[in-house]
């Protein structure tokens, strides 16, 4: 009986605590008062968020933070990066340590509905794939029955792998590793015949870590959906809307052909009503979001549009060497689709 009382008291305290953080509906004001956006990023993942030896952050996830800072504060450099481990990321967002979480996080039901956060959109469509040595002669993931597969433990990758093999009634022999480097060494050392992780990771591993990239092939099947996107705390609809429309602005500007090169010229001269609306020449969209009129102009002029961000961080000229693929605009047969900015 006493125990129940204690439990109730503890729950009440916890609830007060949580409601306290939910009551912070004014993330925008906090960010503007602080004059800096606190952005949760990965500790180090090539192409997505990585700090160079001088402490400068780059990457696709980092550029989303920069775009958000440009929209809210007018300066893409006013970001405080908080590198977060996979375990700490959601608590850090819930507790207000960071204003936005942009850390290659897969959008799933559990996370969206159960963690007190909102995903604002998708910045990168990833999916899990397989890489095998070319001399294995395998051309499809469906031929992998009985093969030893190197995989990192504790990730959705491991679960997807088991799902795929069970669904296709194939025999799975996983070789599980704790660390990324160990699993790579095992694969290249011949401990297993197959390596599996996200497609973006496979491409980088093939081009950078393999002695000779031609010796390895990435199988065409993508066995899981990994839509990666930023997320914000629940309970602040205004901030949610801003974060969402910054993501759309990146895509919409690419669709309209606005780049960091031509944005000044287009703002002066363009007759296209869509361009004028996005760049704040006409209309009062920014007021509705609580931002300055040149929010999207600041984004594109300082960070670039989605296409530029993609090519700069993960595109064909980078170590990751990724094609646009499903991440192309919907007009080019991809999945990147912005809700109309009007």
């Amino acid at each position: 009986m006493t125990q129940t009382k204690w439990l109730a008291a503890a729950a009440a305290v916890a609830l007060i605590g949580f409601s306290g953080s939910y009551a912070q509906a004014q993330t925008l004001n906090q960010v503007q008062d602080r004059d800096a956006l606190r952005c949760g990023v990965n500790v180090g993942l090539a192409g997505f968020s990585i700090a160079d030896d001088q402490g400068n952050w780059t990457g696709l996830d980092v550029d989303y933070c920069r775009a958000l800072a440009a929209a809210v504060l007018g300066d893409a450099d006013k970001v405080e990066y908080v590198p977060l481990s996979a375990q700490a990321r959601f608590t850090a967002l819930q507790s207000g340590e960071v204003d936005v979480l942009s850390r290659n996080t897969t959008w799933t039901t559990t996370r969206d509905a159960g963690l007190g956060i909102h995903f604002v959109g998708v910045t990168f469509y990833d999916g899990q794939g397989f890489m095998v040595p070319a001399d294995l002669g395998v051309e499809s993931a469906h031929d992998l029955s009985g093969a030893e597969v190197c995989v990192q433990t504790g990730t959705t990758t491991e679960l997807n792998l088991a799902d795929f093999f069970r669904a296709n009634d194939m025999d799975l022999q996983p070789v599980v590793f704790e660390g990324f480097e160990e699993s790579l060494n095992a694969f290249f050392g011949g401990r297993c015949q197959v390596y599996t992780t996200d497609m973006s990771g496979l491409a980088a591993i093939r081009s950078v870590d393999a002695e000779n990239p031609e010796d390895y092939v990435i199988l065409p099947e993508t066995i899981s959906k990994e839509p990666l996107g930023p997320s914000v705390r629940r309970g602040d609809d205004q901030w949610f809307a801003i974060a969402k429309w910054v993501n759309y602005a990146l895509i919409e500007t690419e669709e309209l052909g606005i780049t960091s090169e031509n944005v000044d010229e287009l703002r002066e001269n363009s007759d296209n009503p869509g361009v004028q609306r996005v760049l704040g020449v006409t209309g009062d969209l920014a007021d509705l979001l609580g931002l300055e009129n040149d929010w999207a102009y600041d984004i594109v002029s300082q960070v670039g549009n989605y296409g530029e961000i993609f090519e700069r961080n993960v595109g064909v000229d980078t170590p990751l060497g990724l094609e646009r693929g499903v991440n192309a605009l919907w007009t080019d047969g991809g999945l990147m689709y912005s809700m109309p900015i009007r």
Partner: protein, 366 residues
């Protein structure tokens, strides 16, 4: 006619087989078939491992300042990676152009630590020196005064952060733990209950949990807008954790003292604190030196757990340095480099504790 020898026989050298290197080897390495087998096996492993290791570490290694392509061609270690990235490993995310500040701060704190190892400096004013040092250390890192650019504590990283967490942890946890140990052995029931409760509660929880609670749960319960600095929270969590362990170590020392020491002190009419300060603690702490240093070594390495709450300590800074895909295959070199740093500090602490035991051992050799 006499059968008694009048002079000594001249001394003969011991048989060749029994003396010198050969004799030593026979006596120690080949004295039975089992030991002979072990010796040969060990020799085989040494021959198999040591020369390739030396070749990898030194002879075939790349020492010049070159790109990853050159390193990939080489058979040996790529020390070029360390030469390129050592500042990122040592200072983490600290602003690049300001890294002279943590460098000076580290030199300062290490010199003060070395000075306080000398017995001549064991004076009360050393406490003042330490407080001043820590103040300067934090000012240098944090800036904001004397024209130093302010640097957020989240950006503090690498070795300066590790050193700060360890040194402050050691310095602050020690007095707390002495009080806790005394409190646990106290006759006063409330004080005893508080101390026992604290020690058992904290000791029953992993450090990682404490750090996690301090970093992510605590802000959930705070009114909005109020926040405690992240490094401070981690520091407090470490102090809280270590002091509970240390308290038990010191309690062990207290219990090792014969009851006669207490009774003698009482007979002399000493007050409780006089007795503790002059009779009990000096002996109890001397006995506990090995386990205390054990705890400190553990603490020094446990500071790497702050990586879980997004503080860029030495180890996380190292991991970040090879997150770059061009360089990530050289992670072994990076780990060797930080292992060396950790080892230097830990080995020194361990050596110093042995010295302390010798110096403080006043006739209680057991």
């Amino acid at each position: 006619m006499s059968f008694v020898a009048n002079d000594y026989k001249p001394e003969q050298p011991p048989p060749r087989k029994e003396s010198g290197a050969l004799g030593w080897a026979r006596a120690n390495l080949f004295n039975s078939w089992f030991n002979t087998a072990l010796t040969l096996l060990a020799l085989y492993f040494l021959i198999e491992t040591v020369p390739p290791l030396i070749r990898w570490l030194f002879i075939d290694a790349v020492w010049g300042l070159v790109g990853p392509d050159v390193c990939r061609e080489a058979d040996g270690a790529c020390w070029s990676f360390i030469r390129l990235k050592y500042r990122q490993i040592l200072f983490g995310t600290y602003p690049f152009d300001q890294q002279w500040r943590p460098l000076i701060a580290m030199i300062l704190i290490v010199s003060v630590a070395l000075l306080s190892c000398i017995r001549r400096f064991w004076q009360p004013w050393m406490v003042g020196v330490w407080i001043a040092t820590l103040f300067i250390y934090i000012t240098l890192l944090g800036g904001g005064v004397f024209g130093l650019r302010p640097v957020r504590t989240e950006l503090w990283g690498g070795l300066p952060l590790t050193l700060m967490l360890a040194f402050v942890g050691i310095a602050v946890a020690f007095p707390i733990s002495v009080l806790l140990a005394l409190g646990r052995r106290s006759d006063m029931p409330i004080i005893k209950a508080i101390c026992v409760g604290y020690i058992e509660l904290i000791r029953g929880v992993p450090l990682i949990t404490l750090l996690f609670m301090a970093s992510f749960m605590l802000p959930l319960f705070m009114p909005s807008g109020v926040s405690i600095d992240a490094v401070l929270r981690a520091q407090v969590a470490i102090i809280v954790f270590v002091s509970s362990y240390l308290a038990e170590v010191i309690r062990g020392g207290l219990q090792a003292l014969p009851k006669g020491q207490y009774e003698a002190a009482h007979t002399l009419g000493l007050s409780y604190w006089q007795m503790q300060r002059k009779i009990i603690l000096p002996q109890a702490l001397t006995i506990s030196i090995p386990p205390i240093v054990n705890t400190y070594l553990g603490l020094f390495k446990d500071t790497s757990l702050v990586a879980i709450i997004s503080l860029t300590d030495l180890l996380l800074a190292t991991r970040q340095s090879f997150a770059d895909p061009e360089w990530r295959r050289f992670f072994v070199e990076a780990y060797i480099f930080v292992a060396l740093i950790y080892w230097v500090f830990c080995y020194y602490m361990s050596k110093y504790s042995q010295y302390l035991e010798r110096v403080l051992n006043t006739g209680h050799k057991r």
